[in-house]
């Protein structure tokens, strides 16, 4: 077993905790999922490292890419968005770097392939994703003066919309959007409208 794999396995719990502690600085996680959610998050985060380790062992980033896409479908249906997962992978990469694991370049490459694989490749969701920057600009412009919003929440809002378009299920977007002033969500919808489906999007599950 490589020095990186040994070190990764030895540090897995600590790395996982570090990543989640950082993500849970956003109070939304605890508000939305509570302590029970943190328990599942701990399990999932360790699974990310297990699959990273499996990809390292096989010297095949595709192992992690397949996992990322599969897990996205599991988590999006349970109320998370693609940006949450991508952020977890990016923070894990940073945590590995700051911990100084040996020969860690391969791990960074695999994790980068993982979050890159979360980009939609076709359909309206891919078209919408290509417009992420204008979408973010539109909602920043629409924020009322004096309203302080976390930058990561803006990214999540856009990600929820894109996932909703991809899955045809908008309930999770609407739930998250309720945190924002109406004008912000309207601005997002208006900017996204060329890529939103003509037919009303299903919204039956919270």
């Amino acid at each position: 077993m490589s020095a990186l794999r040994s070190a990764l396995q030895a540090a897995a719990t600590r790395l996982s905790q570090q990543v989640l502690d950082e993500m849970y600085e956003n109070p939304w996680w605890m508000q939305r999922y509570g302590e029970r959610g943190r328990h599942f998050a701990d399990e999932d985060s360790l699974h990310h490292i297990s699959y990273l380790d499996a990809a390292l062992a096989a010297n095949d980033p595709a192992v992690f890419e397949k996992y990322a896409r599969w897990l996205r479908s599991v988590l999006v249906s349970r109320g998370m968005c693609s940006a949450h997962l991508g952020e977890n992978f990016q923070r894990l990469s940073q945590a590995i770097r700051s911990t100084g694991l040996p020969d860690s370049r391969a791990a960074h490459e695999i994790l980068e392939r993982g979050w890159s694989s979360l980009r939609y490749v076709d359909g309206p969701a891919a078209l919408l994703q290509a417009e992420e920057d204008p979408l973010l600009a539109a909602i920043r412009d629409a924020l009322p003066r004096g309203v302080d919003v976390r930058e990561d929440d803006l990214m999540y809002l856009v990600s929820y919309l894109i996932d909703g378009v991809a899955t045809g299920e908008m309930a999770h977007f609407e739930l998250f959007a309720a945190r924002f002033p109406t004008g912000v969500v309207d601005a997002l919808r208006k900017t996204a409208s060329p890529h939103l489906p003509d037919a009303p999007v299903r919204s039956h599950r919270a």
């Binding site: 380790d53 499996a54 095949d60 192992v63 397949k66 996992y67």
Partner: protein, 224 residues
């Protein structure tokens, strides 16, 4: 209704019984299908039970059922497979013995059981060891039973190391044996880690039970 439509209908009825937790209904359904057409056992196993099980997996993935419901449905599939086994009329014994085991840590034994039942039907003498067989005990069992083929099954990618460890130790044990033991790799792990079969230089690999039976037949020169 065509034969294909009848299988889809049967799958839907079986799935409904699984979701309702109605074990008796599921078993009665499989039994009635098998009694009506003994030549359709492969189709029942593949297009009714396995297909319903795949749908159960999809429903869990999409958060439409819970883990508890998924486990309940899987237990019903296991029961249905046992019922179907009672209807089997296997081919005459071909004289080959096969051991099938999930590697240490792997709890998903449903795919391995499908393979075990198909191999049994094909005339092999099957020893099915089920889920998560500790590698030490697997080696002891193989040494004591001297099969013609060992099938290692795994589903999750993070069990690839358990497969690597088992194959390495089996190969070491081969050095004290008169003949090299052929090894097959089965289960969804083959799809997660597509390079593993080549890396380990196993004799046979595949995710599908029918595919593994065909390869075993080819390995032993048995006409399918």
């Amino acid at each position: 209704m065509t034969a294909a439509e009848a299988l889809v209908d049967a799958r839907n009825q079986f799935l409904a019984a699984q979701l309702a937790g109605d074990r008796r209904r599921a078993v009665e359904l499989v039994s009635a299908l098998a009694t009506r057409d003994r030549g359709s056992l492969f189709a029942i196993r593949s297009h009714v039970i396995r297909a319903a099980q795949e749908e159960i997996g999809r429903l869990w993935q999409e958060n439409q059922i819970t883990i508890a419901q998924e486990h309940m449905a899987t237990a019903i599939s296991q029961l249905a497979l046992a019922e179907l086994f009672g209807h089997e009329q296997p081919r005459p014994p071909n004289g080959r013995k096969i051991v099938i085991a999930c590697v240490e840590g792997e709890l998903h034994d449903f795919p391995a059981r499908l393979v075990a039942d198909e191999l049994d039907l094909a005339g092999y003498e099957v020893r099915f060891l089920g889920a998560s067989v500790p590698t030490d005990h697997l080696l002891s069992f193989v040494t004591a039973n001297r099969p013609d083929l060992l099938v290692l099954s795994a589903t999750m990618a993070f069990h690839a190391d358990a497969v690597r460890d088992a194959v390495r130790r089996l190969r070491e044990a081969d050095r004290q044996s008169p003949a090299r033991l052929p090894i097959a790799l089965g289960g969804q792990l083959c799809q997660w880690v597509t390079t593993l079969a080549h890396e380990l230089d196993v004799d046979i690999s595949g995710c599908d039970a029918g595919e593994l039976v065909s390869q075993a037949d080819a390995l032993f020169g048995i006409a399918s």
